[in-house]
Symmetry: C2
Subunit: 215 residues, 2 copies
Amino acid sequence: MKHYSYFRSSAAYRVRIALNLKGVDYEQVPVNLVTAQQQAQAYLALNPQGLVPALELEDGTILSQSMAILEWLEDTYPAPELYPADATKRALMRSFCSNIACDVHPLNNLSVLNYLRDELGADERQVAAWYSHWVCRVFDAAEKQVATGNGKFCFGEAPSMADCLLIPQMYNALRFNVAVTPYPTLLTIYAHCTALPAFAAADPLRQADNPDQLS
Amino acid sequence: MKHYSYFRSSAAYRVRIALNLKGVDYEQVPVNLVTAQQQAQAYLALNPQGLVPALELEDGTILSQSMAILEWLEDTYPAPELYPADATKRALMRSFCSNIACDVHPLNNLSVLNYLRDELGADERQVAAWYSHWVCRVFDAAEKQVATGNGKFCFGEAPSMADCLLIPQMYNALRFNVAVTPYPTLLTIYAHCTALPAFAAADPLRQADNPDQLS
């Protein structure tokens, strides 16, 4: 299985965490978004949408969109379970995940920030305010949702899909200097999860395509 | 079961279609987004995110986020199936759905368009260009994905989750005057599906909270 990834893509980071948690063997194929490799013919032939992540299955099928890939991993490698078995609890977790996957990430990815700059003339202060606005709108709700938990994981006693979504989003929020002090529980979960092997191995700082890769 | 809905919300429209396809009995509760009822205390007490749709289950649990609700409906009311049984085909359909749910809708909803106007000073021409840009980026790919089909449904011989996502997005694209002539197959599917009872009953024009409701 091949995972087309860019070290800093938070959607690819989600998939790396899930692959590691499931113990799935995969080959990482870097796609450099800064040099627009995702728009090169070779990559578009694989994934016409020109986005990462993409997962190439053994039979050559290409899956795109991180949420579809995460659901496929759960369907195909059920252990360890990343969703609760109970349908209502699973729906509540999918709702938590959608808040990040739909209501933060798409608004803050590189193509959107560049549109703000190039087409709407936004300056860097305005871009940063935009970025923070959408993160905080969802983190305000997320902090309340996890505040009654154990501070180790978003929900329950083991890593779940919610953690696969939260950790990369928090990584991005810190990278973009979002004021995260109102989110102490989210930060505690972040500190706990990023120290676990499956998350640590998925960290952007540890990816081979990161020019500042940690050893 | 109660469905908190606004006639024009395309995310609520998705859920109405799926409820109708599954033959689930539900009470529609209108939440007027134009008068900001979703930000009123009464609604925030139910759904702290202040978004529609939300589904109130018989036990009082509130599910938010349309994609989580759609997955819950599929888990809880398996017939008729809205996803393929095969895991890879299901992943490919989830990818199609995510393209719309993640890469179009969140960028074009009312709160974002208002942010462009109010915070970034975008004029109506710029807002319309923004709207079209994100629709067309995804419709370009979607048209190719469905072009080899039967022109009745996105995939296969029966309505699926893909149609639940496409139809409301096309409705919105038409409402915002997006140039949709490059998408003949998507338009044919739209014409076919909107004539079917489950889709017609979900149409914004037929909702009781639409001031221009058709009889």
